[in-house]
Symmetry: C2
């Protein structure tokens, strides 16, 4: 008997009929990917739908001019659904997925994905719900980029990046990519945060000193 335990970790999949769970497990394979690997990207159309058991994947886009912006992240317990559209549509995907940590994932091949979509209403619902969430994320990015102030956005991003502990090993450059802005802008805003006592900095490291004030700033529309 194969192990179906991982399925329970995915919100919405636990209600799958047992037969479908078995099918899902039978046709999938577990893979392990080291940190910093591009799991999909322009030109490299993936042929698997990934369910993340552990780790995190960052999805970002590089513009023609070479500048980057982070679109969203896929966390453990979620799946890389947006790639499925391109996966099944045989369309290239202009975004790129990079593992931020070591990642363990269950890979479902294209054919198996299609069979599951055909056979299980619950699976369809799971996939569509995941879609809805991602699309909401994208709408949020558009809203932020178009109308958000960068100090507000940076404060929010620092808080969410430092979800475990107050230390953050990142560079100004990487933060600029997070928000789709320029390094100099991040440097200046962080300098300001530092003067106000919100953070402390050293080369490649940012320490959050006052989460409360950062939150307050992040919430201010």
């Amino acid at each position: 008997m194969v192990d179906t335990a991982w399925i329970e970790r995915f919100h919405g999949l636990s209600t799958l009929p047992d037969a479908v769970k078995a099918q899902l497990v039978a046709e999938s394979s577990v893979m392990k990917v080291p940190a910093g690997t591009a799991v999909f990207g322009p030109g490299a159309v993936p042929d698997n739908l990934l369910f993340l058991l552990n780790g995190r994947v960052r999805v970002q886009q590089t513009s023609e001019s070479g500048r980057d912006i982070v679109l969203y992240r896929v966390e453990a317990g979620e799946s890389c659904v947006l790639t499925t559209a391109c996966l099944l549509a045989h369309e290239p995907y202009s975004a790129e997925g990079v593992t931020e940590t070591e990642v363990t994932a269950v890979a479902i091949p294209r054919g198996a994905f299609d069979r599951l979509m055909a056979s299980s209403k619950e699976f369809r619902e799971f996939v569509l719900t995941a879609y809805a969430r991602r699309i909401t994320d994208l709408f949020r990015v558009i809203d932020d980029v178009a109308f958000g102030r960068i100090d507000v956005r940076l404060a929010g991003r620092l808080l969410s990046l430092a979800s475990d502990g107050d230390e953050l090993a990142t560079t100004h450059s990487q933060l600029a990519t997070e928000l789709g802005t320029a390094r100099e802008v991040i440097s200046r805003v962080l300098h300001d945060f530092q003067k106000r006592g919100f953070v402390a900095q050293s080369r490649g490291k940012i320490t959050l000193l006052d989460r409360a004030m950062l939150s307050r700033l992040a919430e201010s529309a």
Copy 2:
């Protein structure tokens, strides 16, 4: 015998098996909506997937601060697929769809959509392909807003809005919504375009005088 002719107008649906075509037509109904109607929006979860036979739907988002940005347009021969995610996921959709012209559309109820997804590989492929295109559109919006110059974006938008004829009945305010910027910014850029002889203006109307120069500007990365 019901009329399946409209199906042929949708790229990807013509290859559907006849039985599926019949099912599609049997479960759907044609509707006509006047211009300027909100076909879906926040709070108003639609319960139909729309296939546009004629007309155009503008999909836009309003931020908390009350400012708007146009996300994409659904043209005749396309479908409002992104709503299906929210439709089936029972999630609210933060964007709003407004008819820009009178619209004739075929409406497929939620249940029928789900049955078609289950029964037809071709239908699934159609839906996923449409998804892929929309998502690509969204990525493009993000790229433009984050990294694009406003004069370049405006030039491009003027050209695509004036696809039939060189007259454009629109206000500076509406153009600001198109690009997610402020009216004053549009006013200044248009003033500049006017001085350079690219366009002529009168209250509520813009005339393109030099599409070639506008194109050249729009292409400049």
